[in-house]
Symmetry: C2
Subunit: 500 residues, 2 copies
C-alpha cells in the first residue's frame, strides 16, 4: 500500500472511531438533559457497548502497525505527519494498559462512585476512605504501566495536560502560595463589597433569554449548537458543527446562570473554532484540558468580569431587571461580580480563592501518591489546609474532602488543569491586548469579535498541532509564567478594593 492509501485508511479508521465516540457523546448529553428516570439502565448498557467497540477499533494491533509504518515514512506533509505522530502516541498510551487492568479499573471506579455517593449523602468520609485507598493504589499501578521519568503523578497529569510535569506545577504553586495568598490577605482587610442584590428574585424566563443573548454576543454560533438546562452546566460536542452548552437557573442567584453561560460559551467557542476538515483527527481536536479551560476562563473572567464588558452590557441588563439594578451603578455591579470572599466550595469560589482549592487538592493528591499523607490523616490535613489557606473551618465532610466527584471517577492529576487554565488565560489575554490595538475600547463598545478572531487564528485553528507549551511560546513568546496572572489580579482587584 502506498502512503497516500495508508493515510486514507488511517483517516477512515479515525473518523469511524470519532463517529462512535460522538454518538456516545450524544447519548451522554441526552442523559444529562432529557433522560427519563427509568431510561438509565439500558442507556448505560448502550454506552458501554459503543465504548467497547470504539476501544477495540483503536487498540487493534493492525491499526498500530499502520501507525508505525506511516510514522516511519517521509512522504507525508507536515500536518499529516503530526496527526500520525499524535495518534501513535495515543495508541501507545492506550496499549500500555492491559484489558485486565482496564476492566479492573472500571470495576473499582464504579464501586468507588457508589461509595462516594453514599459517603457524600451521609457526610461521612470513613465510608469513602477504603475506596480512596484502592483508587490511589490503582493510579500508582497505572502510572507504572504508563511510565514516567520523575514522579508517578507525571504519568497521570499527562492524560489531561500532555507534557506538564509535577516539578513545573510545584514551582507554579509556590508562586500561588507566596504571592496570591498574601495578596488575598490584603484584600480581606478592605471593607466587604455588597453583592446582596445578586441574590434577589430574578425570573427564570428572563434569565434564560439573557443567557442566550450573552452567548450570541460573545460569538457562539447557534447554527452549530444549542443551549439547554441540566443539573450541572457542561459543554459537549459531536463535531465542530454541533457544539452544545447547558446551564442551570437559580431564581435566587443570578450569578449561577450568568457565569455558567459565559464559561461554557468560552469552551464552546474553542470547539466551534476547531477545523472541521480535520474531523476525527488530532488536528481537529483540542490541545489539553488546561488550554480548554484557558478559553472558558478568558471569556468568563478576563472578558466577562471586566469593566469594559459591562460598560457596554450593563444598561440593557438594568432595563431587563430594573427592580434590582435600576438604581445601581455599573461600578457597584462590577465590584459585586468580582467580590473576593473565602468559601468552602471550589465550584462557588471567586476568581482568586479558586486557586487555593486547586492548590490544596494538588498537595493532597501528590501526598497520597507519594505516601507522605496517610489515609487516616488525610481528612484532618484537608481541614487544616482550608484553615491555613482560606481561613475557613470545614463543618462537615460533605462540604470538605467529599465535595468533588472527580476522585471517585478515578481522576487524579485533573484538578491542576483548572488553575493552569486561568494562568494561560491571563498570559494569552495580555498578548491579545498587545496584538489588538485598543482591545479594551472595542470590548467597551460591544465588539468582542476581534478577540475571537485572534483566538481562532492563534489557537483554535491549529487543533493539536502545537502542545500546550508550544502554543504558549508561539503565541506569547515565552513559557507559561504566573506573573501574568498576578499582574492581572493586582491591577484589577487592587483597583476594585482600593489598594495602593
Amino acid at each position: 500500500m502506498n502512503k497516500e492509501k495508508q493515510y486514507k485508511t488511517y483517516t477512515e479508521r479515525m473518523q469511524k472511531i470519532a463517529d462512535i465516540n460522538n454518538a456516545i457523546a450524544v447519548l451522554g448529553w441526552d442523559k444529562e438533559v432529557n433522560l427519563p428516570v427509568k431510561g438509565a439502565r439500558f442507556r448505560s448498557q448502550q454506552v458501554a457497548t459503543l465504548s467497547g467497540i470504539s476501544h477495540e477499533l483503536f487498540v487493534d494491533s493492525e491499526f498500530g502497525d499502520l501507525l508505525e509504518q506511516l510514522n516511519a515514512g517521509n512522504s507525508l506533509d507536515i500536518k499529516q505527519k503530526k496527526n500520525v505522530a499524535l495518534s501513535l502516541k495515543d495508541y501507545q498510551r492506550n496499549n500500555k494498559l492491559s484489558k485486565e487492568f482496564v476492566i479492573r479499573r472500571s470495576k473499582i471506579v464504579s464501586e468507588s462512585y457508589h461509595a462516594w455517593v453514599t459517603a457524600n449523602k451521609q457526610s461521612d468520609f470513613e465510608i469513602f476512605k477504603p475506596s480512596l485507598k484502592k483508587l490511589v493504589d490503582l493510579k500508582l499501578e497505572e502510572a507504572e504501566l504508563i511510565g514516567y521519568e520523575e514522579h508517578p503523578y507525571d504519568a497521570l497529569l499527562d492524560e489531561f495536560e500532555p507534557g506538564m510535569t509535577t516539578a513545573e506545577l510545584e514551582t507554579l504553586f509556590i508562586d500561588v502560595r507566596e504571592q496570591l495568598v498574601e495578596f488575598v490577605k490584603e484584600i480581606k482587610q478592605q471593607p466587604e463589597i455588597n453583592s446582596a442584590f445578586l441574590n434577589q428574585f430574578y425570573q427564570k424566563d428572563k434569565q434564560w433569554d439573557y443567557g442566550i443573548e450573552i452567548l450570541k454576543t460573545i460569538g457562539y454560533d447557534f447554527g452549530a449548537g444549542r443551549q439547554d438546562i441540566s443539573p450541572h452546566p457542561f459543554t459537549t460536542n459531536f463535531s465542530s458543527e454541533d457544539v452544545r452548552v447547558t446551564t442551570r437557573i437559580d431564581e435566587n442567584d443570578f450569578s449561577n446562570m450568568l457565569w455558567s453561560c459565559i464559561h461554557e460559551g468560552g469552551h464552546a467557542l474553542y470547539e466551534q473554532g476547531l477545523p472541521s476538515d480535520q474531523y476525527g483527527l488530532p488536528l481537529g481536536a483540542h490541545i489539553s484540558l488546561g488550554i480548554h479551560e484557558s478559553q472558558s476562563r478568558l471569556w468568563e473572567n478576563n472578558v466577562g468580569r471586566s469593566k469594559a464588558f459591562w460598560n457596554h452590557h450593563y444598561p440593557a441588563l438594568q432595563a431587563l431587571f430594573p427592580e434590582h439594578l435600576g438604581d445601581l451603578s455599573v461600578d457597584a455591579f462590577y465590584a459585586a461580580i468580582n467580590k473576593v470572599q473565602a468559601n468552602l466550595i471550589r465550584t462557588e469560589a471567586d476568581e482568586l480563592h479558586y486557586h487555593f482549592h486547586v492548590l490544596i487538592r494538588f498537595e493532597i493528591e501528590k501526598g497520597l501518591l507519594e505516601g507522605s499523607i496517610p489515609f487516616d490523616e488525610v481528612k484532618d490535613i484537608w481541614n487544616a489546609k482550608y484553615k491555613e489557606y482560606l481561613g475557613v473551618d470545614v463543618p462537615n465532610d460533605s462540604k470538605g474532602i467529599l465535595q468533588d466527584i472527580h476522585w471517585s471517577h478515578g481522576s487524579f492529576g485533573y484538578f491542576p488543569t483548572y488553575s493552569l487554565g486561568s494562568f494561560y488565560a491571563a498570559q494569552f489575554y495580555n498578548q491579545a491586548e498587545k496584538d489588538i490595538a485598543g482591545l479594551e475600547g472595542k470590548i467597551a463598545s460591544g465588539n468582542t469579535s476581534e478577540l475571537l478572531d485572534w483566538l481562532r487564528t492563534n489557537i483554535h485553528a491549529h487543533g493539536r498541532f502545537y502542545s500546550s507549551q508550544e502554543i504558549c511560546e508561539k503565541v506569547t513568546g515565552e513559557p507559561l509564567n504566573f506573573k501574568y496572572f498576578m499582574d492581572y489580579a493586582r491591577k484589577k482587584f487592587g483597583s476594585i478594593y482600593g489598594l495602593k
Copy 2:
C-alpha cells in the same frame, strides 16, 4: 458449546446489535427534535457508521451458523425457540440481499429522495418520474431476491406486515370499495357538521399542558418517556423504559396537537408494554407495523374520538378554553371531532376517508409493480381515482401524487399497514368490550386503565411471539375481518349523522 452457552452468545450478540440500533434511534430522535442546522452533515455520517457496524454484526455468517445450530436443536424452552426462529428468519431475509444490492439501493433511494424534494417543491411530477421508475425496478429486483409465492408485492409487504399477502389485501380492499365508499356517500348527503371552532386561536402553552395531561390520562408513563416538539409527530424508543413521543402545535388548529398526542401515545403504550427482559430479542419487539398502528388507532379513534371519553374529559377542556368551548355542548364537540369530509391529503383525512387514500396508493403500487399502470399515465390515474373515490379534483402534483415521502424512501408495501391498523383496532376493541364488563361506562368515568391492562396482557406482553394473524385469532377468535370496522363505523357515524 452447549445450548445454554450458545443461547447466551446469541442473546449477547442480539443485545449488542440492539444497543447500536437504539443509539442510532437516539441520534435520529435528536436530529428531529434538537439538531442545529449545521450539525446535519456529521450526524448523517455518524448514523451511517453505526448502521454499518450493526449490519455487519447481524449478517455475519458465523452468527448465521449459530442461529442454524440453535434452531435445529431441541433443548431450548418455547420462548427461546421462538426468539431463535424469528432471528433466523430475519437473518435469512437480510442475507438474501447482497452487499452490492444494499449499496446500490441506498444510492438510488438517496437520489430519489432529493428528486422528490425538488419535485414536491416545484409541484412537478415529471422531475420525480424517472426516480419512481428506478425505484419500482429496484423493488421488483428486491422482491425476486427475497422470493415470493404469488405476487412480487408479497415480498415487499412481508417487510412491514409479515405473513400478509396481496391476495388478502385485495379481498379487504374490495370490501372498502364496496361498503365504505357507499357508506361515505350516504353521510355526504347529510348536512355538514360545524367544526369551525376547532380552528380558532388555542394558545400554545395551554395546548402543550393539555397534551401532557391527555397522555397521562391514557396511561403513558413519563418516568419511561417524554414528549417534545418536532415538525412531524413520531414515536421512538431506545428500550421499553425510554419511549418518546413528539407532537406539533398549531395555534389555529387544536386538532393537530390533540390527535397526534393520542395517536403517538397509543404507539408509545405498546412500546412501554413490551417485556424489558427480552430487550434486543424478537420477544421484546413489536409484531408488525399493522399491529403497531392498531394500538395508535385504537387509542386515537375507538377511545379518543368516542362519546364516552369526552363525556368525562370535556368539562375540563371547556374550563381550559372557555372562550371557544364554554357555550358548546359535548355533543357538538363530539360531532366536530368526527366530521367526515373529503380531503386531498392523507395525513389530514378523517377516520373514514383515510382508507380511500390507502386504497388508491395500494392500487397504484400494485399496478406499477405489475406493469399494468404505465409511468406516463400514473399521475392521471392518481387524479382520476381521487375524483372517483373521494370526489375531489387534484389541483397540483404536490397535493396529489407527490404528497407523501414514502416512495422516495423506497417504501412500497408500507401504506396498507395504516388501514390494517384501523381494521385490527376495530376488531380488538370489539373483543375488549366483550371481555371488560361495562367498558364504555368505565371510559365515561375516566377509567381507561382496564383497557390498557387488557391490551398489555393480550397483545403487548407477547412481543413477537405471535404473528399478526395469530394474535388476531388468539385474541378475537377469528382472522382479521373487515366487518368489525364497518360495524363500528356504521354505528358511530350513523348516529352522528342521523342515518337510519
